[in-house]
Symmetry: C2
């Protein structure tokens, strides 16, 4: 990935107009900024700026999964019908896209990968000595959402990290599950939304009474959660009952209600998927037992959309440093030769120091437009070179989240960005 | 990506048996080595070792595309039917998978992306000043191959790099096209098959009389090509005629016949796809002209399969260094405490020096099995720690392509791998 890019060479441009067919803030801002392109409801292509953000989120997730002992794989989107029939989900899963070839053979288009990962493991697991294992991938998923109007928060096609863990004992599973809570916390901290993201007690779906979600507080959320600030945890509205309150040692008067987006979840699958595929292992005594499983998801695109929804202000996006497409947005204001020369000098100095910089070197764009584009794009630092900054012997540096900038020398700029 | 891995912790294992449902060498060796898992004909999942190779090829391709001025994007697999109707390919393209949702709406599952990239560009190109541009992605493609028996050489789902270039003049297009020939040459050189890969004159399909392919010589190839060794070029059998011989300044007696695999292609699309979408630009005189296009493909998985077909010997795979899953396969032979201690020391020394190493630390596996696994996996360097190597004060180092190893000290080992 190129660390430095000239805005004049980028093929995308910002747009002033709000797209008429989008109701969500994330889609509006990401399309206006040239981060994504809408193909149809719930389906987006990622343009250079958007892909840079997506890849940074991917890499944070990948590093944390590797640290947790996950082994990365890449499973197919086309999946055998037989596998889905075995788990009963060929007919039961509403969101499953089915693909038929001209010979009449049917396949599934993967909305999730339990039906694929379990048969893979079956090739390699025979004994308790082969366990535990954790496998993950970062890959495109397909789900038949009939109405999609949440931008990249809920798509028909979306990038997701899905991890599956395999254990010989409940104790071992529970240890890993607890560890994953911390791993997920790290991911959301590193992605810049840790302070508004809560481990949330939620419904377990069909195969487990309860599960854990990570919910990020933002008015655009589809879910309602009740936050216990003191404990730093939350309860999804759907499971707010006395049993849960008791289990978590909290009471209704300690809770505050918020709208939230689910940015990750962890599930106890037990033997729900290992049983139909007969994924078993031989224990120390020679007995044959089903493998216990957990699954752990994070929507990469959804996390990107959540950051936009939760952190943007009325001028545009605000990217946390760790996932911003660039660290610095360098603006050249004015066409004077000394301004251009100084801006080029700052650009090459930052590039040589491996600071990721987007250089707005466009000659035919007004200062006002450059400032509003910069606010829209949401790069953490804005560095301005203008006749005024040169007169003051420096560069005007401002954080996206600050109201006012200050004049710094090129050395001070490098120190600030260290 | 973890640079060092203990074989005892890897969830895959090698297999002695040849899979019964595979006729291709690449699938046989890749499945036996635990690089890939077959989901169904033409559909494979990539396991940790295979994904490492795939990512290395991806990164070589990405670096070369960036150097050529390409901007990376990521386009959707789900594609609007209208776009495919506009180009006439909704009904004409045999390999197109169509997906229908429960509301009866149809979509295409992308086999290629002209129908997506052109509408994206239409948002951003208005003037000749916006050109040239080159966009590329590395992404999963779907093609309805009714019979698939070439392993990862020709799949129904496969990872591909597709680039599209956009120009205002034929001259500019031709300059870029010539440049891309060199870029492709670099890719195949770096991937370790440059010496057997030829720029090949081929049929242009429906929209151009001729095109260029890159063909790698190997008996498993589906194509027949005629190589002019002196010029270092080839001609695909389908266009071997006097016109082509004349154009290339060669004669039939200078050509040798070979089987070959097409590992890349570059096409002059002219206005074939810009016209139906009305992708135009305003020239310097204010006239409105259609944008000229080129397209440039490399199958990432196919390149991986080609390397296996072309370079493997009867013991197993031989990975070129630049795309090998690891640089060194460290084998611990024997259970003696001093052997284990020495092997651990070598492993941590190599790991600290950032040498990618697979450490066969398995305690219950014989020396013979370890050697044959090592040959099967095809890692470039094999380093053996055994009672014998310790007696000789060193480590036995052997390249996968060499018959005999030599004893080296740990310092010499590091120097060899520098």
């Amino acid at each position: 990935m190129n660390t430095s890019v000239r805005q004049s060479e980028l093929f995308t441009k910002t747009k002033k107009e709000t797209p008429t067919d989008e109701v969500s803030k994330n889609a509006e801002l990401l399309i206006r900024g040239g981060f994504v392109h809408k193909e149809m409801a719930g389906v987006y292509s990622y343009l250079p700026l958007g892909l840079k953000v997506l890849r940074k989120i991917e890499n944070i997730v990948r590093e944390e999964m590797n640290k947790a002992g996950g082994q990365e794989i890449f499973m197919s989107a086309l999946q055998p019908k037989e596998n889905w029939e075995k788990t009963g989900r060929w007919n039961d899963l509403d969101v499953l896209y089915k693909v038929t070839d001209s010979a009449g053979r049917e396949m599934a288009l993967g909305p999730t990968h339990e039906e694929i990962v379990v048969p893979i493991l079956k090739n390699y697991v025979t004994s308790y000595k082969d366990l535990p294992k954790a496998l993950y991938q970062i890959q495109d998923k397909f789900r038949m959402e009939l109405r999609s109007k949440s931008g990249i928060l809920r798509g028909r096609e979306f990038m997701m990290k899905d991890m599956y863990s395999f254990h010989s004992t409940t104790e071992d599973f529970e240890k890993f599950y607890e560890q994953m809570k911390g791993v997920y916390k790290n991911v959301f901290e590193r992605a810049g939304i840790g302070h508004i993201t809560y481990l949330t007690f939620a419904s377990g779906g069909t195969f487990s009474k309860y599960s854990h979600e990570f919910q990020t507080i933002t008015p655009a959320g589809e879910d309602t959660v009740y936050v216990d600030e003191e404990q730093g945890i939350a309860i999804n509205k759907e499971v707010l009952n006395d049993e849960v309150l008791g289990q978590l040692g909290t009471t209704r008067d300690k809770l505050s209600e918020h709208r939230a987006i689910e940015v990750g979840n962890i599930f106890d699958l037990k033997t729900k998927y290992s049983a139909p595929f007969d994924l078993t292992f031989t224990d120390e005594k020679g007995g044959k037992l089903p493998v216990l499983m957990g699954c752990y998801g994070i929507g990469i695109g959804r996390l990107m959309g959540t950051v936009v929804e939760a952190l943007a202000d009325d001028k545009g996006i605000i990217w946390p440093e760790a996932i911003a497409p660039f660290r610095v947005h360098l603006l050249m204001l004015g066409k004077e030769a000394d301004v251009a020369a100084e801006a080029e000098k700052v650009y090459s100095t930052l590039s040589r120091a491996s600071v990721e910089v987007l250089f707005d070197d466009r000659a035919d764009v007004s200062a006002g437009e450059k400032f509003s584009d910069s606010d829209l794009l949401g790069i953490p630092y804005r560095a301005v070179v203008s006749a005024r900054s040169i007169k003051e012997n420096g560069i005007e540096l401002k954080k996206r989240t600050e109201e006012k900038g200050k004049i710094v020398s090129i050395d001070e700029l490098l120190t600030c960005l260290k």
